[in-house]
C-alpha cells in the first residue's frame, strides 16, 4: 500500500502480487496490475523468489520494491532481481550479506570506530562455547540469531541455569525463521533504550541521517509504540548517533534507505545493535518530522539519482508518535487473535496519519504478521503529538476481534510514558495496569443497557426449534450484517 502510493505520486505504474489469502486485500485493489503467486503459506508465495521474479518479468517491471516484511532483507532475493535485469529498490545483495550476518556487522561497526556491546564477534560453535562466553561476559546476556533480527530467536538469559533451554528454543526459532540456527551472545544492557537512526545513501557516495526514533516500547522484542525525536536524546547525542550511523553506512558501502539500531543506556552511552537493510515499519515518524517522502527517495536513489539535499538541509520539526495496532489481545497478555473486522472507524483530522489495509469484512487470520494499522500523530511538540494520539485512539473502532488498542489508550495517559521516562522494560512493568480504566456512572449504565440489547439480539438471531422459517430468517439476518 505504502509503496503503491509513492509510485502513483511519481507517475509510476504499480504491480502487486498476492497469495490466496490476500485476493481481496486493499493493495491488490489499488495496484494497477496484480498477480497471484500461490497459497497462503509464505514459503509457497511471498517467500518464493522464483515466482516473484517471474511475475516481475512477465509484467515487464523496471524495478522491484521488497516492502518491509518477508524478503525485504534477503540478499538472495536482491541478487535474483538484479540477475533478472531488474532494479532492486534497496541495498545490493553483497551489502545485505555484509550486514545481515549479525556478528559480521558487529565486527564492521567495531572496525569503523563505533562502540559495540561486549559479546562474541563470530557465531557460536556449540552450547559449550556459549556457556564459556556467557560466563566471561557475565549474566544477564542476550542470546541472538546470527542470521537475522526482528526479535526472532532472541532471548534474555538471566543465569547459567536458563542457558540450556534458551539455547534449544532460540536455535529452533532461528532455524525456522532464517534457515540457520547460528546464535551469538552479547551483554544484556539493562534499562536500555532502543534508539535507531534513519539514513539515506545514494550510489554516488552521498549519505545523510534523518534523525532518530525511540522504539523502546516493545513486548517479546516486537515494537508497539515508537516516537521521534527520542525523549532522552539531546542534540549532542543525536549528532553522535548520526555520525556513528554514517560511519557504518560508508564502511559497508551502503546504498538506499536503512536504519542503524543502537541501545542507549541510562548515562547516554550507546552501543551498536544492528542495521536493518530495508524500509522500516516506523518510517512514517521520520517522514512527518522531516517532511520527506522516504519511499519516493528510495525509488529515486534506485533509479541512480543523487540525493537532492545535503545534511545541512535536513530539518526536524515537532514530534511524532506511532501506535502499532495489532491483532493481539492486550488485556490477556497480547495473545494473537483472529477474527473478521465487523466494524471499523479509522481516526482522521489534524496531525493524524493512518497507514492501514483494513476494511469491514476482512478476515484477519494467523497466516501473517498481526499488524493491523498504524496510527501516527504529529504535533509542534511532544505534548501536542501526545494529545493528538490520545484523541485519535478515542476515535478508533476496530470491532470483531481483540486488539492492542486498550494498551495504547492506557500508555498515552500513563505518567511515566507521558514524562518520557521509559526503557525496553516498560511493557513488563506497566502492563497490565494495576487499576483498569474506570467508567463513570453514566457510562456504566450505557454499557449495561448495550450489554442487554446485544444479548437480546444474539438470542433472537439464534435459530429456534420452530419450523416456521426461523432458519431462513436467521439466514437473512446474517446476510444483512
Amino acid at each position: 500500500m505504502r509503496i503503491i502510493r509513492a509510485c502513483h505520486e511519481l507517475g509510476i505504474r504499480a504491480v502487486a502480487v498476492f497469495s490466496d489469502a490476500d485476493r481481496g486485500a486493499l493493495h491488490v485493489r489499488l495496484a494497477d496490475e496484480a498477480y497471484p503467486i500461490g497459497p497462503a503459506a509464505p514459503r509457497e508465495s511471498y517467500l518464493a523468489i522464483g515466482k516473484l521474479v517471474a511475475v516481475a518479468r512477465r509484467a515487464e517491471c523496471d524495478a522491484v520494491h521488497p516492502g518491509y516484511g518477508f524478503l525485504a532483507e534477503n540478499a538472495d532475493f536482491a541478487d535474483a532481481v538484479r540477475d533478472a535485469g531488474l532494479v532492486f529498490v534497496g541495498p545490493p545483495g553483497e551489502v545485505q550479506r555484509r550486514l545481515g550476518e549479525k556478528t559480521q556487522a558487529r565486527r564492521l561497526a567495531r572496525d569503523a570506530g563505533v562502540p559495540v556491546a561486549d559479546g562474541t564477534l563470530a557465531p557460536l560453535r556449540d552450547l559449550d562455547q556459549a556457556r564459556r562466553e556467557a560466563k566471561r561476559i557475565g549474566y544477564p546476556v542476550m542470546l541472538k540469531a546470527a542470521a537475522g533480527g526482528g526479535g526472532k530467536g532472541m532471548r534474555a538469559v538471566g543465569s547459567a541455569a536458563e542457558l540450556d533451554a534458551a539455547w534449544r528454543l532460540s536455535s529452533g526459532e532461528a532455524a525456522g525463521a532464517f534457515g540457520s540456527e547460528a546464535l551469538f551472545v552479547e551483554k544484556l544492557i539493562e534499562h536500555a533504550r532502543h534508539v535507531e537512526m534513519q539514513i539515506l545513501a545514494d550510489a554516488h557516495g552521498g549519505a545523510v541521517w534523518l534523525g532518530e526514533r525511540d522504539c523502546s516500547i516493545q513486548r517479546r522484542n516486537q515494537k508497539l509504540i515508537e516516537e521521534s525525536p527520542g525523549p532522552s536524546v539531546d542534540d549532542a547525542l543525536r549528532e553522535r548517533l548520526g555520525d556513528a550511523a554514517l560511519r557504518i553506512v560508508r564502511s559497508a558501502g551502503y546504498v538506499n534507505a536503512g536504519t542503524v539500531e543502537f541501545l542507549v543506556d541510562e548515562r547516554g552511552s550507546f552501543s551498536f545493535l544492528e542495521v536493518n537493510t530495508r524500509l522500516q515499519v516506523e518510517h512514517p515518524l521520520t517522514e512527518l518530522v522531516t517532511g520527506l517522502d522516504i519511499v519516493a527517495l528510495q525509488l529515486r536513489i534506485a533509479a541512480g539519482e543523487p540525493l537532492p539535499f545535503a545534511q545541512g538541509d535536513v530539518r526536524c520539526r515537532g514530534a511524532a508518535i506511532e501506535l502499532r495496532v495489532t491483532a493481539e489481545d492486550a488485556p490477556r497478555g497480547f495473545v494473537p487473535a483472529t477474527g473478521r473486522i465487523a466494524l471499523l472507524r479509522e481516526p482522521a483530522g489534524p496531525g493524524v496519519r493512518v497507514d492501514s489495509g483494513l476494511f469491514e469484512g476482512l478476515a484477519v487470520t494467523s497466516d501473517y504478521d498481526p499488524l493491523l494499522m498504524k496510527v501516527i500523530a504529529h504535533g509542534v511538540d511532544r505534548n501536542e503529538a501526545l494529545a493528538r494520539a490520545r484523541r485519535a485512539v478515542r476515535e478508533t473502532i476496530v470491532a470483531g476481534l481483540p486488539t492492542s488498542l486498550a494498551f495504547h489508550a492506557h500508555v498515552l495517559d500513563e505518567p511515566d510514558f507521558v514524562a518520557g521516562r521509559y526503557d525496553t522494560g516498560y511493557v513488563a512493568t506497566h502492563w497490565p495496569p494495576r487499576t483498569p480504566a474506570e467508567l463513570d456512572e453514566s457510562q456504566i449504565t450505557a454499557a449495561a443497557l448495550v450489554a442487554v440489547l446485544a444479548a437480546r439480539r444474539r438470542a433472537a438471531r439464534r435459530p429456534v426449534a420452530s419450523p416456521d422459517g426461523a432458519w431462513s430468517r436467521a439466514g437473512r439476518e446474517e446476510a444483512l450484517r
Binding site: 498481526p370 486488539t403 446485544a454
Partner: protein, 165 residues
C-alpha cells in the same frame, strides 16, 4: 425480562419492560437509544450525556465505551440460575487448550503416558516464538486431539489429562 449484568467489576440488574423502558437496579433510566450499526453499536443518551458503545467481541463480551474498553456480560435470570448450578467442575479432568492460534511443532507425550505437573507436553509455534505448553496437573494423558505439524486455533483442545495422585 430481568438480566444480571456485569460491567468490569460492577454487578447490576437490568429490567427491560415490555414497553422498552429500562430499570437499572432501583432506578428507572430515561435513555434514548439508537442502534448505529446492527447488533454492534449503539448511541446512548442519558440526561444529555452522549455515549457511544460498540460491541468489540461477543465471547467474551468486550465493549468499547466512549473509547474505553470494558468486559461485560448479560444473562437473563433463568440462564444465570442454571449456569450457577452447572458450574460444579468435573473434578480430575484437565483439558490442555491452545492459548493462541499457531502451529503445533512437537508433541512430547503419547496417550497413556503418566506425566508430572508442569512437564512440557507440546511446543506451539506462534508469533515467531516457540512456546512450551506445560501439563496443568500430574496425571495420565487420556486423549491427544492433535498431532505435530497441525495448525491450531486459539482455544482448541489439544489433549485431555486425567489427574492422578
Amino acid at each position: 425480562m430481568i438480566y444480571e449484568v456485569s460491567v468490569g467489576e460492577r454487578r447490576l440488574r437490568v429490567d427491560v419492560a415490555s414497553d422498552g423502558r429500562f430499570q437499572v437496579d432501583e432506578h428507572i433510566v430515561a435513555a434514548e437509544i439508537a442502534e448505529t450499526a446492527r447488533g454492534r453499536q449503539w448511541s446512548v443518551r442519558i440526561a444529555g450525556r452522549s455515549h457511544e458503545v460498540t460491541v468489540l467481541t461477543h465471547d467474551p463480551v468486550r465493549l468499547l465505551v466512549d473509547g474505553r474498553e470494558a468486559e461485560a456480560s448479560a444473562l437473563d435470570e433463568r440462564t444465570a440460575a442454571s449456569a450457577r448450578g452447572a458450574s460444579a467442575a468435573r473434578g480430575g479432568r484437565h483439558e490442555l487448550r491452545a492459548p493462541m492460534p499457531g502451529l503445533l511443532k512437537t508433541v512430547h507425550v503419547a496417550e497413556g503416558d503418566v506425566i508430572e505437573r508442569d512437564a512440557p507436553m507440546m511446543t506451539l509455534e506462534a508469533m515467531k516464538m516457540e512456546n512450551e505448553l506445560l501439563a496443568p496437573a500430574r496425571g495420565r494423558v487420556v486423549r491427544l486431539a492433535v498431532s505435530a505439524g497441525t495448525k491450531v486455533e486459539g482455544g482448541a483442545i489439544l489433549a485431555v489429562l486425567e489427574e492422578s495422585e
